[in-house]
């Protein structure tokens, strides 16, 4: 467990066509480098899972990696639309995309159930909400004590989860700092966990209650400095807000998008 691999080898070994995969990171620590490697290795028919598809899935969807998407908020944060996501849903380009849509609270409960080895999560949610009419996964249970009806979501257990973190030590223990989103849950819910890190160190810069994933739950670690760019890594580099704004124009146009991906992703070695 916790083998230190190149990113290319990690994706080669663990990410396969048709899998359910989650690349998590809520605004912070989004594993862009790993997504780009998956695009370069031309994985197909993936079922992508992520609370906020963000630019990372806009790119994967636009490059034809995905058949399906489970998500809860599909915009460019603070900017506007994800045009590749919209083009797939509205026009089936480059291929149709089936969606399983949730609320953030529902996705969080589903990851938490997945990490906990439970078959479902319970929340007081989806109240008088049309999502229940379009997503058959949202069901309910009755509280055995109060009789109240509560919403349920099926556990999310991705075949592979990929996260980015600040540090791994040589044993493969992984440290996350700052905004951690639902990464710990996504990581522990997965059958296989891949982690990209800013650096591999002798001793983690951790204190007693830090968020550390022990090496024996990590399937592979790849050292990829700036692997979260244009998202950010607290303590290493800031979010490139300008790029998120630029993406609005890049992503809006199919040709411009394809050119950008060819130049900035496909022609780059891992």
């Amino acid at each position: 467990m916790g083998a230190l691999l190149s990113l290319s080898d990690a994706v080669q070994r663990h990410v396969h066509d048709g899998q359910r995969i989650a690349l998590e990171g809520f605004t912070h620590l989004i594993p862009f480098a790993a997504a780009h490697e998956i695009i370069r290795q031309q994985r197909r028919h993936l079922h992508l899972i992520r609370m906020t598809p963000d630019l990372i899935y806009d790119q994967m969807i636009g490059m034809g990696c995905a058949d399906a998407l489970t998500f809860s908020w599909g915009g460019n944060p603070g900017v506007g639309s994800l045009y590749r996501l919209r083009d797939a849903i509205e026009n089936g380009w480059p291929q149709p995309l089936s969606i399983s849509e949730h609320t953030h609270a529902g996705m969080a409960a589903a990851y938490t159930a997945g990490a906990s080895g439970l078959p479902f999560g319970v929340l007081r949610g989806y109240i008088n909400n049309d999502l229940t009419g379009v997503n058959p996964d949202i069901k309910s249970v009755r509280c055995p004590y109060t009789g109240e009806q509560l919403a349920t979501v099926p556990a999310l257990n991705p075949d592979v989860s990929i996260i980015h973190a600040q540090q791994a030590d040589r044993a493969g223990n992984v440290l996350l700092r700052g905004i951690i989103g639902a990464q710990k849950e996504a990581a522990l819910a997965a059958k296989c966990l891949i982690v990209t890190v800013e650096e591999v160190v002798d001793t983690l810069d951790a204190h007693m209650n830090s968020v550390v994933l022990p090496h024996w739950v990590v399937g592979a670690v790849a050292c990829v400095p700036r692997g979260a760019y244009p998202s950010y890594a607290q303590g290493y580099y800031a979010r490139d807000n300008g790029f998120y704004q630029d993406w609005d124009a890049i992503g809006k146009d199919r040709t411009r998008f394809t050119d950008w991906m060819r130049q900035k992703v496909l022609r780059v070695a891992a």
Binding site: G75, A109, D130, G181, K184
Partner: protein, 252 residues
């Protein structure tokens, strides 16, 4: 700037919404106007307002307005940074949020909101970002404030999709659900403020900004908007309010 006035309707909306917040209130905010509103209040009359962003930062005190709800400065200035599942369970669902801010593409007369699709869900004319945290903020914050520019396109007789329930069909329907909070208590638009009427729960124009008429607000609404008999005239932004707001934007 609209009508040659020394402030924009966006600024008026932001200031009017900020005035509704009180010192010490616990505010669940998203990016854009809600974040600007809550931070403006913090710099004005509510220095102890508690900002919760769904990214997990509790008590953030950003000096500049974040572009994303997960910017590093939010974590650096927060009292505590917790996981996202914890935000939605221990903090929001548990009823610890006083005010939740919501936006939307469409709103109906009972303050139900659509942020999912325009057109049919399966074949949307416009695919919008979707629910995010909104449905459960709408359910569990003690009250919600909606910020939304008023037009016949956004203030509609019937939503294309109900993403976040306000008062559902009105007439107490919300109170019969398991939603914990009181629901939308104010809708702040670029014309003024709408509030639910006791009994019917239908939105009513209760205040207008001093540079617009209630007639203009009615015309910008896709249903026959009720106007309160005693309509409040909402004062223009003060020099102080404008200065702080503009400084905040200039820093960002």
């Amino acid at each position: 700037m609209k009508d040659g006035l020394p402030w924009t309707q966006d600024e008026m909306m932001t200031v009017a919404a900020a005035r509704l917040l009180w010192d010490g209130c616990v505010c669940f905010v998203g990016i854009g106007l809600p974040s600007a509103v809550a931070n403006l209040a913090r710099h004005l009359h509510a220095p102890h307002i508690v900002l919760i962003y769904e990214s997990g930062t509790i008590g953030a005190r950003p000096s500049v307005l974040p572009l994303s709800i997960g910017d590093g400065e939010l974590a650096e200035t927060a009292t505590s940074v917790v996981s996202l599942p914890e935000i939605f369970t221990y903090w929001l669902q548990a009823g610890r949020v006083d005010v939740g801010f919501l936006g939307a593409a469409q709103i109906d007369r009972f303050a139900n909101l659509n942020s999912t699709v325009i057109g049919a869900y399966d074949k949307p004319r416009t695919r919008l970002p979707g629910a995010g945290g909104a449905p459960e903020i709408a359910a569990h914050a003690r009250q919600t404030f909606v910020i939304l520019k008023q037009s016949a396109r956004s203030f509609v007789p019937a939503l294309d999709f109900c993403t976040s329930a306000g008062f559902s069909g009105g007439h107490g329907e919300r109170a019969r659900t398991t939603a914990r909070g009181a629901g939308p208590q104010a809708v702040i638009t670029d014309f003024g403020i709408l509030k639910p009427m006791a009994g019917s729960d239908e939105l009513q124009l209760t205040g207008r900004f001093e540079n617009v008429t209630s007639q203009q607000a009615v015309q910008a609404t896709g249903w026959p908007l009720q106007v309160a008999s005693s309509l409040e005239i909402i004062a223009a932004p003060s020099a102080d309010e404008l200065r702080v707001l503009r400084d905040m934007h200039a820093r960002t």
